[in-house]
Symmetry: none
Subunit: 140 residues, 2 copies
Amino acid sequence: MRRTILSYGIAMAALIGLLKFVEYKFLIRDIPLEFYIGLVAVMFTAIGIWAGLRLTRPKVIEITGPFEQNEAALKETGISKREYEVLELIAAGLSNQEIAGRLFVSNSTVKTHVSNVLAKLDASRRTEAIANAKKMRIIP
Amino acid sequence: MRRTILSYGIAMAALIGLLKFVEYKFLIRDIPLEFYIGLVAVMFTAIGIWAGLRLTRPKVIEITGPFEQNEAALKETGISKREYEVLELIAAGLSNQEIAGRLFVSNSTVKTHVSNVLAKLDASRRTEAIANAKKMRIIP
DNA sequence: GCGAAATTCATACTTTTGGCCGATGCGCGT
DNA sequence: ACGCGCATCGGCCAAAAGTATGAATTTCGC
């Protein structure tokens, strides 16, 4: 962990150096500052995403055994791709509001999806949907 | 997806605007450009991490084979016998009313038990309680 | 390209759930 | 006897979840 942080520090330093260089180049050619700032923003956003995923990855990979999904059963329910995403998040214990935030849609949309999932899984509560989906082997 | 990208675009635009403002402030006070750039970098790294985490889907851990209950974890939660029964029925997808019928108690009692279970599992929704309990291996 | 399916969103309504209070009775150990 | 945890119940309120309906877009298979 200490090593990891150190690595990131060095990488950051290197990047700052690179930026200085780019900055020099750009300023020489009289390219507007806004453009340069935008470039920096995009670069570091990308770095942030990358770093974020790197640092959190070890936590999520905890698969104990092979989960074989019953594709047939899933298809039979008629659950769409988006609806399945919602179902996964429901099973993860998220609220409609949280799901909306995660999927970048409105609360209304999530409710629609949830309602569809409930109907397709023959359930009237999300907890029942989870139980049914598990029984049918369409979610781990 | 298009919407997602659009959202980011708008968010970016807004942030650039904010940056312009900050920039103005800083330049007025003759603070070096490097500092400003660094600020931008840090900000957008943070944004990137946030976005990355937001986009990461929660991986559901799976339990295969014989279920061996983590007695220690269960004891640690302080969940009582009756509360555990309720928890099992929650996980089975029953409503409070149904649980009340199954355990021959009133709806109020079930609600009390549910509330206690939620508190002891550090959850605020029954679905979250299920997910947590599964992670802690106190229910199959 | 056309049409069906999928995705998105809103509004209004009912039901369920959860939080917070207090209260009673019962058994158990000191 | 007293305190303590557990189980039981009720009321009230707010938030979340679910239902129904309608509609605008987008996507995708043919």
